[in-house]
């Protein structure tokens, strides 16, 4: 059974979505079977790819659409949304 969960997340850490957070995000996303995408306007990237996440250049305050689709979409969304909301434990 496949589910879909989408919502808006906000980058809150001072340094934005730089390499370390991007790596943490891709690492976590890759633990789920669901497809995970991040959308910023027209731009859509694969949240399982560090390089694609970095192509967003998302500074502090940026709002992104998080889209999870697959058998574990709910848990995937919750885990990633929490990581982002916690500022990747940076500041």
């Amino acid at each position: 059974m496949s589910a879909r969960r989408t919502g808006t997340i906000r980058i809150v850490n001072r340094l934005g979505l730089h390499a370390r957070p991007a790596m943490a995000m891709a690492d976590l996303a890759n633990t789920f079977a669901s497809a995970v995408r991040l959308r910023n306007g027209e731009q859509v990237v694969d949240a399982k790819s560090i390089m694609e996440i970095l192509m967003l250049a998302a500074v502090k305050g940026t709002e992104l659409q998080l889209e999870c689709e697959g058998p574990d979409a709910e848990g995937c969304y919750d885990a990633l949304a929490r990581l982002v909301a916690n500022g990747f434990d940076e500041d």
Partner: protein, 157 residues
């Protein structure tokens, strides 16, 4: 952000001498220092910090590329060095493959937006197979500069 605006011409190393990560980073950082793009007095601190950063998570994200980087308070602007290796560098890559193209970025501490824009420009191009192939075919710094100029002008697909 344009790659042409942050590349340090004298820090384009088209034939890296070493095939070990730490020595390659030293080679490229020393080129930045020699070019006056990174302060010599902080060279050792920056070097150790980049290595420490790599141990916390490799920036060799696959496809034969690596993007080691660090932010330091002494930097006024962003400086990019590029190192190319024909034989490949052992870089502890996520896909366990050798690295052929290294982009070393040193950024100011207080300009996170500019750092993100530089990483965007680097990743956007390094994610393109064509760009990676042309880079591996570059023999001289001028070849690399020409490629970066084409990339900045969206001529590489």
């Amino acid at each position: 952000m344009k790659l042409s605006d942050i590349i340090v011409r004298d820090a384009i190393v088209t034939q890296l001498a070493s095939n070990e990560r730490d020595k390659v980073i030293a080679e490229m950082l020393d080129a930045l220092v020699a070019a006056g793009a990174t302060p010599a007095e902080f060279r050792d601190h920056i070097y150790q910090s980049i290595l420490h950063r790599e141990t916390r998570g490799s920036t060799a994200w696959g496809k034969g590329i690596a993007v080691p980087h660090f932010k330091h308070k002494s930097m006024q602007g962003l400086s990019l060095a590029i190192g190319l290796s024909g034989h490949g560098v052992e870089f502890n890559a996520l896909d366990r493959q050798p690295v052929y193209s290294v982009f070393l970025l040193i950024s100011p501490e207080d300009k996170p937006e500019e750092h993100l824009q530089a990483m965007e420009a680097i990743c956007t191009n390094l994610s393109k197979e064509t760009f990676r192939r042309f880079l591996r075919q570059a023999h001289t710094p001028d070849d690399v500069l020409t490629l970066l100029d084409e990339a900045d002008n969206q001529l590489i697909r």
